[in-house]
């Protein structure tokens, strides 16, 4: 069995700051991490490989420094890492990204064997779009299972996969056919600590590096900024609210004073809360 896991190296968004005067992003010193949801995808793939045998290939598109994330994935136990890196990919939106990644997965398929499964995280913490997984599936003509909490069965002979998919009002248990693309939800599996042997291997393992041409990109105008139908026209900081919070004095009865301030500001709330609170 061959599984391809797409990961992305992202800035740790919790640590990004905006320059107070220029309203520009201060990226200096912001550490990069593997997108946390992609780690759940990687772990799911490794668990399946350990159970059914086969290989896990991790793939990322990014600047040369994204090699760090691939090496990290190798320490967790991935068998092979592919870095898709080229200045032609810069500025790609989701549609252009899926074109490049789908092309690379086709190349992986001919070089290292066709994947039975392609995994991604449900979304990234920088772009937050959740569109790249479904886009890759569509580009490759794969079936797709998004927001998967658990893979409940895999039958390699019958070529079927059963998965629990989170939907708005509950959980769908779906069965579809391999090959298929799965996007993984959070917190259903703990990412492993890599084995010492994997760590040693990862430090020296070769990383496959492909330019657009190496990966077999046929139409460079479909990549990067040129291949992106969406255009960012304006970036700006959210408007500051004109008034700051009215601060309540911490006196003898701060709780009562706070409640008084709340109801004074929104008088209808008291009757509504009394209704809501009924029964407690």
């Amino acid at each position: 069995m061959h599984i391809v896991v797409c990961i992305k190296q992202v800035p740790d968004s919790a640590q990004i700051r905006v320059h107070p005067v220029t309203n520009t992003i201060m990226r200096q010193g912001v550490p990069t991490i593997i997108n946390p949801y992609d780690l759940f995808a990687l772990e799911a793939a490794l668990e399946l490989r350990d159970k059914f045998g086969g290989e896990v290939t991790v793939l990322t598109m990014g600047p040369p420094s994204a090699e760090d994330s691939l090496r990290k994935a190798l320490t967790f136990g991935a068998d092979r890492a592919v870095l898709l890196t080229d200045r032609f990919f810069a500025g790609a939106d989701t549609l252009a990204t899926t074109y490049a990644l789908a092309t690379a997965i086709r190349k992986i398929s001919t070089e290292f064997g066709p994947p039975d499964l392609v995994f991604t995280g449900k979304q990234t913490i920088d772009g937050d779009t959740a569109q790249v997984g479904p886009g890759i599936a569509k580009r490759l003509g794969l079936l797709q299972l998004t927001y998967v909490a658990k893979i409940s069965a895999l039958d390699l002979e019958a070529r079927t996969i059963d998965a629990e998919r989170r939907s708005e009002g509950g959980v769908q248990i779906l069965r579809t056919r391999l090959p298929c693309l799965v996007t993984m939800l959070e917190a259903t599996n703990q990412i492993r600590r890599g084995a010492m042997a994997d760590a040693l291997r990862a430090a020296r393992a070769p990383i496959v590096k492909w330019s657009a041409q190496d990966a077999g990109v046929e139409d460079i105008s479909k990549c990067g900024l040129r291949g992106s139908p969406t255009i960012v026209k304006r970036v700006f900081a959210p408007a500051a609210r004109s008034e700051k919070a009215a601060l309540i004095e911490v006196g003898e009865q701060p709780a009562e004073a706070l409640i008084e301030a709340i109801f004074k500001r929104q008088p209808p709330l008291e009757a509504e809360l009394a209704t809501l609170a009924r029964g407690y």
Binding site: K8, T24, I25, N35, D128, G135, P254, I259, L276
Partner: protein, 369 residues
Amino acid sequence: MSTAPKTPSQAAGGRASTKKELPEHFKAYKHVWVFIEQERGVVHPVSWELMGAGRKLADKLKVDLAAVVIGPDGEATQHAAAESFCYGADLVYMVADNLLADYRNESYTKALTDVVNTYKPEILLLGATTLGRDLAGSVATTLLTGLTADCTELDVDADGSLAATRPTFGGSLLCTIYTLNYRPQMATVRPRVMPMPERVVRDTGRIVSHPLDLVEDDIVTKVLSFLPDRDSAKSNLAYADVVVAGGLGLGSPENFQLVRQLATVLGAEYGCSRPLVQKGWVTSDRQIGQTGKTIRPKLYIAAGISGAIQHRVGVEGADLIVAINTDKNAPIFEFAHVGIVTDAIRLLPALTAAFRARLSPHSRDRIAS
């Protein structure tokens, strides 16, 4: 996996200034459409919120607003279509087929793609729900057009282009995105970001039916079963009128009980900021903010939450934001309406007791009289 938010320099140096004439074959694309999401017979409220936003865009463009209703052939789908008129639709495109009883990517992507290719909307809006995001990503890739995720503002420019604004860099900045030379211009919007428009009782108008043109054997994916969330387990955070939330200032997972106790007394939902989910104190369905839920309550009480921009994005729609924090310089006081600089761990039990006393049946009589 996703796309990197583009930097301002890329935006300035990119194609933004090189708008070409819209290709000839896209000129027939007119009107604003909203995908009406229904699952198991219930329309997701985000669809009506989008009808409110769609109505404004359509009025500004002087075009029709259409609802797209996709579902099983039966009463629920007919009802969703009828309701669409009450929320401002000029007409409804409907694909009703029993193969669409359950949401499956293959059948819904085909249904929506076919209707788009046949009737050619200029703008297509969907909810950024699990269903909406799954469907929007597939449809946009099939149509090879642009899709802007999780918008917080939608507007049209003087030249008629859709200006879709969304948070970027984890919510620390906003960016406005255009899909200039492709159609339709697609966008998703999260539940509760747009206000719910008023429902006006109206007669059903023109319904255009479109066939699905599939048989069950064409659809590979099968639904083996569906486990609905138990009501007790289900968090109604996004639609709650009152929300109490806790952050790192609570100090320990045990202290999070204080948030739940106040929520119980207020008949409220409880939530938290992202670090508490990362620490495993609270489950992810309770997370409020950029990577969690957007809320729009009448009253929001934030206890021990510093108010990072990622959190602010998720709570800005609240009517009244109350902040409790020991640090008077915490960013939350920049966007809260009422604040108190004190330790939430000490204030919360007193607040719970005071609310209980104030809202007791005896007090209710007082309010009524």
